[in-house]
Structures are given as C-alpha cells and as structure tokens.
C-alpha cells in the first residue's frame, strides 16, 4: 500500500455508513424552506441569520456584477483580482467599523488562517480559547508560533497563562470568538480586554457568528460589550449574516494593509467573484439600514431557546441564534436527526469530534426570515422527538 491507499483505507468519516454526508439540500426560492433528502423541511441549520440569500437587492447586485464583470476574477488581489467591488467593499467595511484598514479574503476560513499566520511567527505566542474554530487552530499551526489554549471563556485562566509568559506576554496575541458556533455562547469580552490590556498583549476577535447579529449597529460582540477600541483585529465572514461567501480582517488600531503580501491566503488565492462582492455590498447596506432584522432574529432565538429548554433539552448556556441541543450518543443523534427531517425540520448534526464536550449536537440555527409558523414547526418537531421519538 502506498501512502494514499493507506490513508484512504484507514480514514473514517463520522456516521460513515449513513446518508448524513451525502445529504442533498435544495432550497425553494427562499432562505428558510427547502427539500432535504426528498423531504420538505424548514431549514434550521444554515447560519443564514438575517435571511439575506434571497434579498432582492443582493440578488440583483450579484446578477448585474456577473453580467458586467464576468463570473470570476481569475487572479489574486495582488495580481489582476482587484475589481471595483473589492475596493468598494473594503472601504464600506472600514467605514462600518471605523477601521483604519480592511483586508478581504475569499472565505472566512482563509481570513483566520491568513491573518493569524501573517500576524504571528516563530518568535510570537498565541493564546487561543479552547473552543476556537478549526480555522483559528490551523492559522496558529501555519504561523509556527508557540501556541497555548486557555479554558473556554475563562478570563482568569487566560490571566494565569499570560502571567506565566513573563516578559514574553507583550509579544502575544489572544484570540476569542464573539459567538461560539457550537453552543451559541458569547465571550466575556470586557473581562478578556481587561486582562489583555494589563499584560500589553494584543486581541483578535472572530465575529463570524456575531457580525450582523450583536451590537446596536450589528458590528458584533465588541460593539455590544462597548470595547471596540480595545480590540486589535476583528475577523468576520460573509457566509452567515451577509448570505454569500468570503471573509475579512479589520482593525481600528492598525494599518492591516501592510500585511497583504505576508498573508499568504490573501496573496495566493484567487479573489472572490465580482458577483459575490456585489451581493456582500448590498447585504451590508441592508444590515445598516434594517436593524429590525436583528430584533426579529433575536426574537426567534428567544422563543426557540425558551421552548426547547422547557421541553427539558440540555442546551448551551445562553439565548443565541445558535441553539446546540446535547445528545449523548452518536446513534441517538443520528436517529434524532432523521426523525426531525421526517417531521419537517432540518438541523445540523454535529459529531463528537467537532463538539466542545462529550456529546453530539443537534445544532439549530435561527434566521430573521423564519416566520412564527416555521418557528412553531421547529419547536413541534423537537416536542415530538422528546415525547415519542428517539429522545423520548
């Protein structure tokens, strides 16, 4: 056996022999309903928080850009891949955040990998929240920096680790997330800021799940916690609240433009298609002009979280558009996931390997576009699951 034959033969996928990984999701001309494996369902596992994937302004902008500028840029941002919409979106995001500079990346994953590996090197120290996204861990690995993890959402544990670093503490970057993607909990950001500032370290906040969701203007947890001026870098994605694909790094304090060559994910990836940039610009405008979308999203989250809690499910610690329902075994989780689809609801099935604890998750994500009837359908399916389904 050569390396590849051995690798392919030994690698195991979660729920290897089930239909999970071949799940075919077809949306039906709107963000919240579709067909999954042939069944009509309410889509409650898409992270489409504001439901903008079918917003007429976004679709129109996307189509017009494709007609005018073509289907792709065929070049990196440092070569031929900077089109008017890339430059305009960077300016508009900079204005939105009050940032000195914004760098766009082709995906959210690349934003973390690219900016972290550009900011840190072998002589730096990275301190990551234990429940950080894979892109943060991968960025840390690529940077070559000495990397420590601290206990999830525990500012006292971070404090201890910075103290242990001694005079290396000012050469460290602390990384946390706004909303954690598995259980929907938020970071105690003001506490983290206090610790980071005391040691002279730097702070990066990944607002992938909180951009467009938290804060008076939708700028995320840093805005909601009133600490935007204490955060060095914000990373975010367009693939959730903005309803398309892409990522960015923004900074109020630093001129990140200087890192365009050092961030290899930026320098060596083809830039986003002009149609994607145009729809992201239109979606950002919608976020700025329609704060009521955030209200609707959080109402849907409150109703769903409260109902599932009342049904006796073990959930993440706080109300959030991401509601992580704990299931103790992978067989039960798979049965429950099928049961929910049969009862008209699609959620994400999260295996042990990707879950933050010794459990699988049925991950529900709410959208501002869910109607009250759709929220009822979600809750009713979970009620049946508890009363007469696999989790009875």
């Amino acid at each position: 056996m050569n390396l590849i034959e051995r690798r392919v033969a030994t690698e195991k996928l979660p729920w290897q022999d089930s239909d999970v990984l071949g799940t075919l999701v077809t949306v039906d001309g709107n963000p919240t309903s579709g067909t999954v494996n042939g069944r009509s369902v309410v889509l409650a596992g898409t992270n489409n928080y504001l439901g903008l994937t079918f917003h007429p302004d976004c679709v129109r902008a996307s189509v017009e850009a494709a007609v005018r500028f073509g289907t792709g840029t065929t070049g990196s941002r440092l070569a031929s891949g900077t089109y008017p919409d890339h430059a305009a979106l960077e300016r508009e995001l900079a204005d939105f955040y009050g940032a000195r500079a914004v760098m766009l990346f082709t995906t959210g994953y690349q934003a973390n990998v690219g900016i972290i590996s550009a900011l840190a090197d072998r002589d730096s120290v990275l301190l990551l929240d234990a429940q950080s996204h894979a892109s943060i861990y991968d960025g840390a690995t690529l940077s070559g920096a000495t990397t420590y993890r601290f206990k999830h959402n525990d500012a006292a544990d971070l404090d201890k680790r910075l103290r242990r670093l001694g005079d290396k503490a000012p050469n460290s970057l602390v990384i946390v997330e706004g909303i954690y993607s598995m259980l929907g909990d938020t970071a105690p950001l003001a506490d983290f800021c206090e610790v980071v500032t005391r040691y002279g370290a730097a702070l990066l906040v990944d607002e992938a799940h909180s951009f467009g969701v938290l804060g008076k203007h939708g700028r995320g947890l840093a805005e909601a916690a009133g600490v935007e001026d204490q955060v060095d870098v914000v990373v975010g994605t367009f693939s959730k609240s903005l309803g398309c694909v892409g990522g960015y790094a923004a900074s109020r304090k630093h001129d990140l433009s200087q890192l365009r060559a050092a961030a290899r994910a930026y320098a060596y990836s083809a830039s986003s298609a002009p149609s994607v940039m145009a729809s992201a610009r239109a979606a950002l405008k919608v976020i700025r002009e329609h704060p009521e979308l955030r209200e609707r999203l959080l109402d849907n989250a409150r109703v769903t979280y409260g109902a599932l809690q009342q049904l006796g499910y073990e959930l993440g610690p706080e109300v959030s558009p991401v509601v992580g329902v704990h299931v103790r075994s992978d067989e039960l989780a798979l049965d429950a996931w099928h049961f929910l689809i049969d009862n008209g609801v699609y959620v994400n099935l999260v295996p042990f390997e990707a879950s933050p604890g010794p459990f699988c998750l049925l991950r529900v994500s709410l959208s501002a576009a869910h109607t009250p009837e759709q929220v009822d359908t979600i809750i009713e399916a979970f009620r049946k699951l508890r009363e007469s389904g696999p989790l009875a």
Partner: protein, 82 residues
C-alpha cells in the same frame, strides 16, 4: 523518589482516574491506542497538570506526546524552564 519518578507516579494516578476500570496502564502505554483516552480526556489531563505545576503546555508539542513517559519528559522541561 526522584523528581521524574514523582511526576510519573502522579501522571499514572491521573491517567488511571480517566481510563476505564481494569485498563492496564504503565509509563510506556500509548494514551490513545492502549489506554483508550479521547482527545478531550487528554486535554483534561493536560489542564490538571498545568494547574498542579503552574505551567502551560504548548499545543505545538502535544502531538509528539504519546505515552506517560513522553509527558513526563515534557513536564520536566516545562517546570525547569519556569
């Protein structure tokens, strides 16, 4: 008892608490393949050591640690570096 023996005894005790009852644990046992610890349990083990000895394990080195003996060596290095 030398410092190294002390670390090994403490680690064996912690690993025994995490392993299923009846699992044979010695200093050369592979923590995943022989003892059957999950990645979450290994991180729990690391956190306990970090708190006990007031040190931080770099993630960069964790991938190289397969056995209690490997962990003892890392522990010695980190405590000494303090």
């Amino acid at each position: 008892m030398t410092k190294r023996e002390n670390y090994a005894a403490r680690l064996k005790e912690l690993v025994n608490q995490l392993a299923e009852e009846g699992t044979h644990v010695d200093v050369d046992s592979d923590l995943v393949d022989d003892v059957g610890l999950s990645s979450i349990e290994i991180m729990e083990l690391v956190e306990q050591l970090e708190d006990t000895y007031d040190i931080s394990f770099p993630l960069n080195d964790l991938a190289e640690i397969r056995t209690i003996n490997d962990m003892v060596k890392e522990l010695e290095r980190l405590v000494e570096k303090q």
